[in-house]
Amino acid sequence: MAKHETPLLDQLESGPWPSFVSDIKQEAEARAKNEKGVEYQIPVDVCEDLLGILELSFKHGRTHWKHGGIVGVFGYGGGVIGRYCDQPEMFPGVAHFHTMRVNQPGGKFYTSEFLRQLCDVWDMRGSGLTNMHGSTGDIILLGTTTPQLEEIFFELTHTYNQDLGGSGSNLRTPADCVGEARCEWSCYDTQALCYDLTQEYQDELHRPAFPYKFKFKFDGCPNCCVASIARADIAFIGTWKDDIRLDQEAVAAYVGGEFPPNGGSHSGRDWGPFDIKKEVIDLCPTGCMQYADGKLAIDNKECNRCMHCISVMPRALRIGNDRGCSILVGAKAPILDGAQMGSLLIPFIKVEEPYDEIKEVIENIWDWWMEEGKNRERLGELMKRQGFQRLLEACNLKPDPRMVQEPRTNPYIFWKEDEVPGGFQRDINEFRKHHLR
């Protein structure tokens, strides 16, 4: 018999999809039985009370959570998000229900043994409920009490060699794709760069001094599996400078049906024979491809790295050999409004240890944003408010046509008076001699 009646939540289990309600009920049952003999350090019925408060919120149509607080671990200004319930007498199990963010391993590689250990800690000292992974990429541990925070932190850092992630006005946990570890399209070692910058900027990650959140994300190629271009204040997106490597024999094999297109995905239904014109050539956004007399030709200088042809025919087309990354800045994806894509700041930069050139760009941006940014203003908003030109000045960069997304729609770059011969003042009488009113 459940502790609280939850008819509204029960209805959510009726669909064909997996339900978080069923998951929480399962955990509630497991905690009640406690077959493993865990010495629970927070109320055993935390999951029942979580269901209860959620049911009440559904019934009232408003939240019963209060978020925020001074909770945290000593010396860290992020990684713990305080949450309290405003009906602690009715739901004592979730009177405190703090979230902990754990910095995920690069590319989210971990062993099942690590997962078991993490879950054992969390079963004992938290609710047992996790979110693998949050939108920031972190391992999210949902729901514990204030006295458990230091205990969990000690165990994570000392026993499992893990650290908390970022929250609040910090550098958020840097997130990367699997990169060269598993993907042939990766143009740089995303995990190496992500790890290096995570270590380099520990102070920014744990001790908040920014106007607002700040995100780094690393995508090995323009397919952008981490969606850095849409949500990172600084997105590092792999690219190449030379030509796409082209294997005409493999192209012929795709056309002849020997290789399945798209690496064999979408194979649940018969789409008919592969049509290179319809499925590749006509879909090229810059029209830089041609297929004639059984030969594929690419005008590489027109290619904008959309990745479509490479994704459809991975055995025939490969990324170039002169690789690095593009740096885009100012993206944000707030829930309510104001989403903005990244703007290109550095068209191409080599990604080589010790990444000094990249760090110089980052630190110049931070110096500008920390001084000029208003409270709760993201980098993208500051760029809009003060102009792209100010960002270029802060980064000691010269304007480049590649930074202009669409001519005449985003006139970022203006002449300054000292760059114009004679300045902005002119002799109007001299002008009128040659130009009638």
């Binding site: 209060k66 978020h67 925020g68 607080g69 001074i70 909770v71 945290g72 010396g75 860290y76 200004g77 992020g78 713990v80 998000i81 305080g82 309290y84 979230t99 929250s167 609040g168 006005s169 910090n170 102070d203 001790r207 908040p208 001094a209 920014f210 106007p211 607002y212 959140k213 110096d367 920390m370 001084e371 409270n375 709760r376």
Partner: protein, 79 residues
């Protein structure tokens, strides 16, 4: 500016403000009249020394004198 002087300045300035107990980082940097990076070093030590404490809504971080103000207020109630 040495640490003791900075701490004194911050404590005096924050104690004077009766209407609020949580402050953005740049308000503290302004009190110290320092660039953000220089101010951060001193302010971090004040947190370690338990003069100041962090307050976080989850998305935004603020600073307050330790033990002063609401401990677990929702963000909108604080502003």
């Amino acid at each position: 500016m040495d640490q003791a002087e900075a701490t004194e300045k911050i404590v005096a300035a924050l104690q004077k403000k009766k209407s609020k107990t949580k402050f953005y980082f740049n308000e503290l940097a302004k009190i110290l009249d320092l660039k953000p990076r220089a101010a951060k070093k001193l302010i971090n030590i004040m947190v370690t020394d338990e003069v100041l404490e962090y307050w976080s809504s989850g998305s935004t971080s603020l600073y307050g004198l330790k033990g002063v103000g609401k401990q677990a207020a929702a963000e909108h109630e604080d502003e």
